[in-house]
Symmetry: C2
DNA sequence: TCTTAAATAGGATTAATTCTTATTTGTCAA
DNA sequence: TTGACAAATAAGAATTAATCCTATTTAAGA
């Protein structure tokens, strides 16, 4: 990702924090920077270890709590998983996920064929839908048995 | 669920176990019976507490290990979650999920509009799809703010 | 019935997450 | 610019979820 793009996203992030009366701390900015540059839907521990390079005595709890705070104001998403530690997604635009059952990799994809996954009327009347996503389970290229 | 339906499903379950050379233990049958009668996508702990009524000294580990074994042979599914303990689904037919973000309830629904969630070609060529599901996040009836 | 590998119970261990408390630090108002 | 204060942090303790270890038991095939 380009530096200018990163700075733009950080700027938007800071504005979102202000709107929610969250203090702009260097830790929060560093955590957000790590997040938006990560491709792998990282766990809190992965983010922690990456941020630790810049802030050697940041605590795990700060990273974890911050990620949950970010999720609370909608700047990151907690990704659906099938057990194991929580994983975070800095891409909050509409997209879908492939889960490799072998290596655990989660791969983003967009597909206009799913663009309007309309919700059945019987559901829409009793359930307020906030987000919708197609989740595919399977085997990624690297994990598929080669013949 | 009717007793005859339960017995039929248990019979199929037993046959599946035999096909996979798994021993038919009373614990496994009891765990399976609890599962197919549960509507709430229970955690291992919930299953444990339910089975404990019948087997007062079954161990949590047995229940948990058994559930994972069942998932391995495909008689139950591990459901997608957003953190927290694993949850299990005895319904292995194609269906979709609503997740209430407030109470954590997971609601099954079927919808023929999603019946053929075709996979984009670019994905299908690099990823072997095993299952597909629409995951909706939102608020269930009980948790929606009333006006 | 006998043998044996698989499964279980129970407790210990590890992993993931959250809580507690003393200290520090952004932010807002003066 | 400074001071006050609520919010945020660091560090470690505590909790919850999951897994491992080992001695014992048991289902299933010979």
């Amino acid at each position: 990702m380009q530096n200018t793009v990163i700075d733009q996203r950080v700027q938007l992030f800071i504005e979102t924090c202000r709107r929610h009366h969250l203090k702009i701390t260097p830790q929060r900015v560093a955590i957000y920077r790590v997040l938006i540059q990560s491709k792998q839907h990282p766990t809190a521990d992965r983010v922690f270890r990456a941020v630790k390079k810049e802030f050697p005595n940041i605590s795990f709890d700060t990273v974890n709590r911050t990620l949950l705070t970010f999720a609370g104001i909608g700047v990151v998403d907690v990704v659906e998983t099938f057990g194991g530690p929580k994983r975070f997604d800095p891409d909050i635009t509409d997209h879908h996920h492939l889960h490799c059952m072998a290596c655990g990799r989660i791969i983003d994809f967009a597909y206009e064929g799913y663009a309007r996954l309309e919700v059945p009327k019987t559901i829409a009347s009793t359930f307020k839908v906030i987000s919708r996503r197609v989740v595919l389970k399977g085997l990624c290229d690297a994990c598929s048995p080669k013949q």
